[in-house]
């Protein structure tokens, strides 16, 4: 049994990947994410600094608030900094925030949910009431309240955004665990003397994995959006950090004066990443849970399939189609 496990896991992964890669929208989404990661990794190559200041903070006062041109693709901001350069560097921050927030909130949320669901009783009650309290405050407001208290810094933004992300995992995992707990294979494992920890880790978690993966993908997008919103109202990162939300905050000051490029491009960057993540998440959901997708196709695709398949069985010529 121990020997078979890796093989089975691998084929399961391949099966998901096979379904995933058939979905063009999911692939486009993944392409966007990969592009963002590349931008973040090679930010200093794509938008290098000049030795004095980093690539995102090269001020040029004589060249401020320029509209997009061949020189400055996305124009320049009020300090004459190239907006494109700042966006490229900004992807580092956004991806960092997304990744850290998702990992931490997922670990905490999954642990809380698993404990609550598996042990029930008092532990369940206490944990779920705490979750209820967090959920009673709208996500963004909670983040605002926390970061207002903690003060602006990257770590504090991550904390502020992360707390609001915990309930989703905890609830999801708890629901899964509660329904799996009573199932026969868990009973069977228990009857041969598996410990609680082993039961959760080996038998329950692998089965609860799909919704967590989907939740994490969507959580990544939410984290980026909330972090940007915090910076936008001045509670996120301090200047000159090229955070996309902070750039929008700069843009707002010049919005009515007609400097649209300072608003358009950072916002596009946020929307682009979130769009990519959502597309990938959608594809992942379909690939992990093929039930949700089964049993249908467009009329055109159906006609094509029917013709192709009938031709294949050589009955196409004389088959009289009736509806």
């Amino acid at each position: 049994m121990e020997n078979q496990k890796p093989k089975k896991k691998r084929s399961q992964f391949l099966e998901v990947w096979r379904r995933f890669k058939r979905n063009p929208i999911a692939l486009v989404g993944m392409g966007i994410i990969i592009l963002q990661i590349l931008l973040a990794v090679f930010a200093d190559v794509i938008a290098p600094g000049d030795g004095w200041s980093p690539g995102f903070n090269m001020q040029d006062w004589g060249n401020s608030r320029q509209f997009p041109s061949a020189e400055n693709w996305f124009g320049t901001d009020h300090l004459g900094r190239d907006v494109f350069n700042r966006i490229v560097h900004g992807s580092r921050i956004s991806l960092q925030v997304g990744a850290v927030v998702v990992s931490i909130s997922m670990i905490i949320g999954v642990t809380l949910g698993a404990v609550a669901g598996f042990f029930g009783g008092v532990a369940d009650n206490i944990i779920m009431r705490i979750i209820d309290i967090i959920l009673a405050v709208p996500n963004i407001l909670l983040a605002i309240a926390i970061s207002a208290a903690l003060g602006p810094s990257l770590v504090n933004v991550m904390i502020a955004v992360g707390v609001g992300a915990i309930p989703a995992y905890a609830r999801q995992v708890r629901a899964q665990v509660v329904s799996l707990r009573e199932q026969e294979f868990v009973e069977a494992a228990r009857s041969i003397g598996a410990s609680n920890f082993r039961l959760i880790r080996r038998h329950i978690m692998p089965n609860a994995m799909s919704p967590i993966i989907i939740e994490a993908t969507m959580g990544f997008a939410t984290a980026i959006a909330v972090a940007a919103a915090l910076s936008f109202i001045g509670l996120g990162l301090e200047p000159p950090t090229p955070e996309w939300g902070a750039m929008l905050s700069d843009g707002r000051r010049y919005m009515l004066a007609g400097y649209w490029h300072m608003t358009l491009f950072p916002g596009l960057a946020i929307a682009f990443v979130i769009f990519g993540i959502n597309m990938m998440g959608d594809g992942l959901r379909d690939a992990l849970d093929p039930k949700l997708r089964s049993g249908g196709m467009s009329k055109g695709r159906f006609e094509k399939l029917r013709r192709a398949q009938i031709a294949l069985t050589n009955k196409g010529a004389d088959t009289n189609v009736k509806k």
Partner: protein, 308 residues
């Protein structure tokens, strides 16, 4: 049913005390002394000591929290450190605008999301479905405050169709409502679609068709009523997101609502205002969720019988 509502209202109390605890702790750990916020940096030590005494800042944590909760129960959140007016008055002067904004956005999101979701589900895999789905994904990805800004630039500054800021006339409402509601509309549309698809494939729909029922009745009577059950939940949760979104959107459109007021209070470190505002929003969010659960009972008889 009455019993159920009463029970739910009672269950809100510990949750709200929890919320108060969180905002109180957040205030407690915040660096800097409130008396300096009130009096300014140049205040004399005597004045500071007087304010500390007045605000009971030197009392033990639990006693301070206890009196905070006690005061909150009588709707006394103290006085604004900036204006020295009662927080309750300040908040309630602005709260209706925020509720109006969020309420109109929910209605906008439902009016857009539900019909498009139904259409998309009944025409699954059609071009319309693909476009609607794609647009939905896109709309869900756009940060509402950015959408608001782009609308200001396009329709306010360049085309001059709508006023760029302010509140009061329907012309003022259009852009903020669309800005906040767009992503919720997208979420509700996608939810309606998937819920509808699931219902359309269910056995009781086959039963309805086997009765000889028209497809339109099958969809709008048999499937929709069931499909709306999960959509109701999402709409309720969306209301929270819309209240949160109002904070940013009110700032952009200079709407005299609670959200913008709180953002200003935060930057001025006016803690009583922030606390009162967060609590009020948490209360209204909880009440909306209760309302959604009651609505649930009207749609779903299975839940209705649980409530008895």
């Amino acid at each position: 049913m009455h019993k159920y509502i009463l029970r739910r209202l009672l269950m809100m109390i510990p949750v709200l005390i929890g919320v108060m605890f969180i905002i109180f702790v957040l205030d407690y750990i915040r660096p800097g002394c409130p008396s300096r916020v009130i009096l300014g940096e140049a205040a004399s030590p005597e004045a500071i000591a007087r304010v500390r005494e007045e605000l009971r800042l030197d009392d033990p944590f639990l006693i301070r929290f206890g009196s905070f909760v006690g005061n909150a129960l009588t709707l006394d959140f103290g006085r604004s450190w900036q204006t020295n007016r009662p927080v309750f008055q300040e908040i309630f002067a602005r709260f209706p605008n925020t509720m109006q904004l969020a309420g109109m956005s929910v209605i906008f999101a439902l009016l857009m999301g539900v019909p498009l979701g139904i259409l998309s589900a009944t025409k699954q895999y059609s071009i319309f479905d693909i476009i609607a789905n794609f647009t939905g994904l896109l709309a869900a990805a756009i940060p509402n405050f950015w959408l608001g800004m782009m609308m200001v630039i396009l329709f306010g500054v360049n085309l001059r169709i709508f006023p760029t800021s302010g509140w009061g006339t329907p012309m003022h409402w259009v852009m903020p409502v669309v800005a906040i509601g767009a992503s919720s509309a997208a979420i509700i549309m996608r939810m309606t679609r998937s819920s509808m698809l699931e219902c359309i494939r269910s056995d009781y729909i086959r039963t309805a068709r086997a009765k000889g029922q028209k497809e339109s009745v099958v969809i709008f009577k048999h499937a929709l009523r069931n499909a709306l059950i999960p959509v109701t939940t999402v709409a309720g949760l969306t209301f929270g997101a819309l209240l949160g979104g109002a904070v940013l959107t009110e700032t952009i459109f200079a709407i005299p609502g609670l959200g913008r007021f709180m953002v200003e209070a935060i930057s001025q470190m006016d803690q009583p205002l922030v606390q009162g505002g967060v609590l009020l929003i948490a209360i209204s969010f909880s009440l909306v969720n209760l309302l959604v659960d009651i609505l649930y009972a009207f749609i779903d008889p299975r839940i209705r019988s649980q409530y008895r």
